[in-house]
Point group: C2
Chain length 339, copies 2
Amino acid sequence: MKKVYLKDIAKDLNVSKTAVSLVLNGKGNENKISQETQQKIIEYAKKHNYIPNQLARGLSRGKSETIGLIIPNISDTFYSKVAGVIERKAKENGYTVLFSSSYENPEKEGELIQSMLNRQVDGLIIASTQQNQKEIDFLKKEKFPFVLFDRHYPSKNTDYVVVDNYDGTRKITEHLLNLGRKKIGLITLKPGLEPIAQRLLGYKDALATFNIDLDKDYIFEIEREEYIHEIEKAIQSLVLGKNPIDAIVFSTHYLASQGLRLLKKLNISVPEKVAIVSFDELSAFDIVDPPITSVIQPINKIGCSVIDILLNKIEGISEQGTKGIVLETKLEIRQSCGQ
Amino acid sequence: MKKVYLKDIAKDLNVSKTAVSLVLNGKGNENKISQETQQKIIEYAKKHNYIPNQLARGLSRGKSETIGLIIPNISDTFYSKVAGVIERKAKENGYTVLFSSSYENPEKEGELIQSMLNRQVDGLIIASTQQNQKEIDFLKKEKFPFVLFDRHYPSKNTDYVVVDNYDGTRKITEHLLNLGRKKIGLITLKPGLEPIAQRLLGYKDALATFNIDLDKDYIFEIEREEYIHEIEKAIQSLVLGKNPIDAIVFSTHYLASQGLRLLKKLNISVPEKVAIVSFDELSAFDIVDPPITSVIQPINKIGCSVIDILLNKIEGISEQGTKGIVLETKLEIRQSCGQ
DNA sequence: CTGAAAGCGCTTACAG
DNA sequence: CTGAAAGCGCTTACAG
């Protein structure tokens, strides 16, 4: 069975390519093509398993019905879950999604943006490394539809969807303070990303609210690629140092789980001796020993908001300016913070 | 800044489109285009931010440099991790990956295959619902490059990469038996998927090896979409029934974590009263209370093997027949099985 | 209602 | 070394 093309159908059925194209795109009626002809064409297409070439179609129409999704890492729970929501919503609207991971590498991210543009995606969704000013400016200048999520460029006027990282960390730190913990460490990542900056701020402001002086030795800013190694030093210093802490705030789920692993190894009782809380979570955090108190991100809302904004942009419904959405997080109190 | 095309470069530089195309595709030297001209073209392209249209390129060359990945659910850890590996490897070889989730819906899977074909992907990777004989046959007939993973069609002669589900479950069940557990329940999914069938077999054969009669009441085959609800009944029946078990084998990570949640709720001590083990794991299973003994799948190897086979197929290096790879699993003994 | 034709933006023999 | 031209497989005014 050889491949069949539009022209084959047209020839075999003694109609024009135009007619075939129109009918197969559901424009038969509005172009007043006889029911009989339409029937004939549709049946033939089905019978011979006609597969329209989207490349040709896209080229001709200047639209690919594809959305590009660039995230730090598809294997990370948070991103894979958001990706799931985005994909589902995109599909519902007739779009396929092309995804790629930047692995936090700005150059790679730049290349990915280029590559997506090459492929004529109709729009772009990016959880950025925040170090590609140039590309973002380019997209803006070209008025190319895109929306940032999770990490945006606060200084730039773009569409974005983020959660309130400041508020989340602040709430959770204050929760520890309310429980009487006074010496609270923070294990977070090296500066560079807006959410991380916000989480640091939230922690600091919570302490300030309770009139507790900030102890620089209580804050560890870890290199992401080296976190397994560096977090060990951080924990040891916080727990076994001269002035041991009684609680730790972890700014990501992987820092929290690794931190807990190490605390267990050191036989530090959690939460009795050291209470811990995490920004973001893993799906088993509720059955961990002890269950980890976490700041929960509204995954579904994030994905839906992103797609909504993007599709409106693509379809030109809302060209008036840009839209920034900041979503609330939710505190999930579990045992690790000492309730 | 308006968009620039091949023809613009050619015109502005007073060379032919051919020359521009050749140079930009790195074929300048082999076509003996003067260094000077090449330089000129490359600079111009960079300066004006020339973005070649991959749709046009693909259409013209009959190759899209894209791979389609169809999985049950991108949000599931296992698939998102394999997807990560596949994406990385694909990228290294110049391919972008188009991904879509079937959500275990055969019709949807069929549509996705069609859609990917429409988009002229060069090859397809599928973790199938195993209910699309027709599509698979079609791909085979067309000699379209594709490889199945995780779930394949045992009766069909295709390329595939799976793990030894039978062996994994058997090993882990025997481990329980060796520890003296005799009344071992199985909580698994309704039949339909090859891995699930194999896991059931492994469990049964392990019991047989130890001369233990199979008790039908100990096996619960759960409807996936209803698992939260159904597993509750299963656990209650196994644990609180007239003939309570002393161990449970869970055939997936989400069944295991949900099962443990329920056992905790019922105040059943694990592993003292009931030992549990899981096929596959979540990343926090080692810090869960108690840490869950699991059969680990070689994620990285799965992804690499899949890509290897597919790329060979696409590039026509190995047309001779099909290749089936069965990878070994690893037992990770933790506390939940009573060691 | 229908058909011939131009065009989408590339690549690639082919002739010089 | 280079250019004109055909072709990839569609869509879509436009003329009838």
